[in-house]
Symmetry: C2
Subunit: 169 residues, 2 copies
Amino acid sequence: MGASPADAGDPTLAADEVESLRRALEEERGRTLRALADFDTLRRRTAREAEAARREGRRAALLPLLPVLDTLERALAAGSRDRDFYEGVAATHRLFLSALREAGAEPVETVGRPFDPNVHEAIATVPANGLEPGVVAREVRRGWHLGGELLRPAQVVVTTAPETTESWR
Amino acid sequence: MGASPADAGDPTLAADEVESLRRALEEERGRTLRALADFDTLRRRTAREAEAARREGRRAALLPLLPVLDTLERALAAGSRDRDFYEGVAATHRLFLSALREAGAEPVETVGRPFDPNVHEAIATVPANGLEPGVVAREVRRGWHLGGELLRPAQVVVTTAPETTESWR
């Protein structure tokens, strides 16, 4: 409708409009590039997040099942007079352990290992008695890894350093 | 460096350049809008995919554990002379069921329900004998839902339609 400055034939106004269009185009190109870069970042994040969500799903499913295994192991530890029934339950226990492994869980190594606060929770100490100090002497509750992460720490009994006086004898 | 048509003061050339800059700006705006729309689509997809990945993780973790529960239930069904030990194992079984529910799994309804091929797997039939035909008479293996999806179908025994001759008496 209205004549643009360029149509008016005024060279100064035309140069102004060309200049402002160039700037607008420049800005718009910047916006496109940023939007494309954001898209790319999001795509990379999406792949990472899907993997994290899968792990989170496995974790949420397995965590409540660990106390079930603990209870089963306590029952087995108490023993039974009924050999056949006990054997059936022991078979269930072996199946339970292999199902957890199949689901991606791995037991935390404990007895004989140096105490590692990242995966071990010390709930008691015992004198070293010939063992190295700061070593796991006994496992009270099994710990589990899931993928590269810790699902649940192991509860352990740790050897203490010998009395300093003893090293002076 | 080189003088642009607008600088040259030629109104026709300046008008051409303004026109071509306007077109370029228009196109660039289209590109920006498309990139932003793609970003939005991807963001929505990302949220959906994270949820699917979480479900997939839960599913992968729970599936291998279902046969463990089956074995435990078979052991319990056989019974035991050792009452205390049996009770310990029965407690483990109750804990197992509630852990599965906590992990999001729900048993498939079976006995007395109309046979539903989406969640039931018929492994045998029995005469209706007073029951409706096409109804689940017995559950052989428990089925499980996870979220809104089927984790594992139930294996069931289904009642068959009465002989047609009987309805003629």
